[in-house]
C-alpha cells in the first residue's frame, strides 16, 4: 500500500520518525510543525496510517513509557521505512528539479 508517491500524511509521518523514535502525540505535533501548521493529523488518521506502516514493515514498535499515568508507545523507522522515504525524496527531487529548470527557462525567454 505504501506505493510511491506516498500520500502526504504517510510521507509526513515517516519524515517525523526519521528524526528518531516518537510517540503518537509527538508525531502529531511534529507533523504540524514540519508542514508549517497546514497538516494537522487527527488520532484516527494517525493510527490507521501507523497500523498500515507497521503491517508493511516501514515502522516498528520502539518502547513504552508511562507519563502522568498514561501510556506512551514509541515508534521508530525501520531500515525498510528509511529506504522508502529515500525513494520518495529522490522521486520528488527529480520532479522539482525539472520544474525549477523549466521555470528558469520560462523566466529567461519572455
Amino acid at each position: 500500500m505504501s506505493e510511491l508517491p506516498l500520500r502526504e500524511p504517510t510521507f509526513l509521518i515517516l519524515t517525523a520518525l526519521a528524526a528518531g523514535p516518537q510517540h503518537g502525540y509527538g508525531i502529531m505535533t511534529d507533523v504540524a510543525q514540519i508542514s508549517g501548521g497546514r497538516v494537522r493529523l487527527r488520532a484516527g488518521t494517525l493510527y490507521a496510517a501507523l497500523n498500515r506502516l507497521a503491517t508493511d514493515g516501514l515502522v516498528e514498535f520502539d518502547r513504552e513509557e508511562i507519563v502522568d499515568a498514561r501510556l506512551r508507545r514509541y515508534y521508530r523507522l525501520t531500515s525498510e521505512g528509511a529506504r522508502c522515504l529515500q525513494q520518495e525524496v529522490d522521486r520528488m527531487r527529480s520532479t522539482t528539479t525539472v520544474a525549477a529548470r523549466r521555470l528558469r527557462l520560462l523566466g529567461g525567454t519572455p
Binding site: 487527527r42 488520532a43 488518521t45 494517525l46 497500523n51 503491517t55 513504552e64 499515568a69
Partner: protein, 402 residues
C-alpha cells in the same frame, strides 16, 4: 454485603449494592492508572479493568475491579489528578474507540486515549463531529487492513471459513436435489424422456469445481485467483448450454443461478481471505454443524418448515460468536434468496427450492436469464480487483531496493 466491614473500617458505610456516580468511576480509573504506573498492571489488564470500572453500576462492581490491588498509599489518597470534568470526555473517547477491532484495542486503546486526551483542550466537554468521524473512519481503515500477526479482521476470517463451508453446502444440496430428482423420475418415467438433464451436469460441475478450489493447497493469492478465474470461466461455459434450453415445467432452472452466486462467493472467499486452510483452522464444529443443518433443511424440507428452522439456526449462529455473525451475513448471499422466494412454478409451497431467482430468470426467457450472469460478472469483478490489489501489494513489498 460482602466487604461492608472494610468500608466501615475506612470510616464510612457503603453497601456494595449502592449505585456509583461518575466521580466514583473516575476515581477508580485514576487508581487503576496509578497501579499501572507502579507496574502492578500491564497495559492489557489496565485496559480490561478500566473498561470494567467505567461501566461499573454498583460499588460491588468497582470493588471487584480493585480487589487484588493493595490499599492506596498516601500518594493515592490525594485528590484526583484528573480534573473531574475530563472523565466525561474520556468516556466519550472510549465509546468511539469501541469501533476498533478488539485485538487492536487490547494493544492500542490506552495509547490512543492518551493521545486523544493530551490533544484535547481542557475545556472540551466531548469530541467534535470531525474528530468522531475521524476515529470511526480510522476504525474502518484498521478493520480493512490485513494484520501481520495472525489476528485477521472478522470478515476476512469469515471468508476463509466460507471457502471451506460453501462447497460443502453446495455438495449437500446438489446431492439432495439429485435424490429428489431420481424419485421424480421413478414416479413419472417419461418426465425427462430419458435424457440426462443439463441442470444436473451444471450442478455437479459447479460443486466439483468449488470443491477443487477449496482443496487445492494454493498459497499465493495470485495463483489462487488465476485458478478461480479459470474455474469460473469453465463453469460459465458449461452453464451456457442450459440457458438456451430451459425446461419450464420442471427443473431446468434449479441449479443455475444458485450455483452462480455460490461460485462467485466462493471465488471471492478463496482469494480475499487467507484461504481454506486458515478456514479449517478457525472452523468449529458448532459452525459447521449449524451450516450443514441449514443447508440440509433448505434442501429437503418444504417451504413452511424451512421458514421455521432457518431463523432458529440463524439465531444460534449469531449467538455462538462474532465469527458466526459474519458467516451468517456471507452465507445469506447464496442461501437467503433461496429461502425467501416462494416457488412460482409448482403447487403452493412445494419443495422446488432452486427457483429463488425466478423473478430474474423467468422460464423460457433468455433475457432475464442474462441478469443472473450480470450478478456473476459482478462477483467476478470484485474478485479480480481483490486479487490484483493483493498481488500488486506483495510484489511491491518484495521489490528489491535500488
Amino acid at each position: 454485603m460482602t466487604g461492608a466491614g472494610e468500608q466501615e473500617k475506612a470510616g464510612r458505610t457503603v453497601d456494595d449494592r449502592f449505585r456509583t456516580s461518575d466521580a466514583d468511576r473516575d476515581r477508580a480509573a485514576t487508581l487503576l492508572r496509578e497501579h499501572f504506573a507502579a507496574g502492578r498492571l500491564d497495559a492489557v489488564e489496565l485496559g480490561e479493568r478500566l473498561a470494567a470500572a467505567l461501566n461499573a453500576q454498583t460499588f460491588g462492581d468497582l470493588r471487584r475491579v480493585l480487589a487484588d490491588l493493595p490499599e492506596p498509599g498516601p500518594a493515592l489518597q490525594q485528590p484526583c489528578r484528573l480534573q473531574p470534568d475530563r472523565g466525561g470526555l474520556e468516556r466519550w473517547y472510549r465509546r468511539l474507540l469501541a469501533c476498533y477491532p478488539a485485538a487492536y484495542r487490547r494493544v492500542h486503546e490506552e495509547e490512543m486515549l492518551a493521545v486523544l486526551m493530551t490533544a484535547a483542550p481542557s475545556w472540551k466537554p466531548r469530541p467534535g463531529i470531525a474528530e468522531a468521524a475521524d476515529l470511526i473512519w480510522g476504525a474502518l481503515r484498521v478493520r480493512c487492513q490485513p494484520s501481520r500477526n495472525g489476528a485477521e479482521p472478522g470478515w476476512r476470517d469469515a471468508l476463509a471459513v466460507v471457502s471451506v463451508l460453501l462447497p460443502l453446502i453446495v455438495f449437500v444440496t446438489t446431492v439432495a436435489q439429485t435424490a429428489w430428482f431420481l424419485t421424480v423420475v421413478h414416479a413419472e418415467p417419461d418426465a425427462f424422456s430419458g435424457r440426462f438433464p443439463p441442470w444436473l451436469l451444471n450442478a455437479l460441475a459447479g460443486s466439483l469445481a468449488m470443491l477443487a478450489l477449496a482443496l487445492l493447497r494454493l498459497q499465493r493469492t495470485a495463483t489462487r485467483g488465476a485458478v478461480a478465474l479459470l474455474i469460473g470461466l469453465a463453469y460459465l461455459a458449461v452453464s451456457s448450454y442450459q440457458v438456451g434450453a430451459p425446461d419450464p415445467g420442471q427443473l431446468s432452472t434449479i441449479a443455475g443461478p444458485y450455483l452462480l452466486l455460490a461460485l462467485g462467493l466462493q471465488m471471492v472467499a478463496a482469494t480475499a481471505s487467507r484461504g481454506p486452510r486458515r478456514g479449517l483452522q478457525l472452523l468449529t464444529w458448532k459452525h459447521a454443524a449449524l451450516t450443514v443443518i441449514a443447508a440440509v433443511t433448505v434442501a429437503i424440507t418444504s417451504y413452511p418448515w424451512t421458514l421455521i428452522v432457518i431463523p432458529v439456526i440463524c439465531a444460534a449462529m449469531v449467538l455462538t460468536s462474532s465469527l458466526g455473525r459474519w458467516l451468517l451475513v456471507l452465507l445469506a448471499v447464496p442461501l437467503g434468496p433461496y429461502v425467501a422466494t416462494p416457488n412460482l412454478y409448482a403447487s403452493p409451497w412445494g419443495p422446488h427450492m432452486g427457483l429463488y431467482l425466478a423473478p430474474l430468470m423467468g422460464p423460457g426467457s433468455p433475457g432475464p436469464a442474462g441478469q443472473a450472469y450480470v450478478l456473476a460478472a459482478l462477483f467476478l469483478g470484485v474478485f479480480v480487483i481483490a486479487a490484483c490489489r493483493d498481488s500488486l501489494r506483495s510484489r511491491r513489498l518484495a521489490r528489491p531496493s535500488q
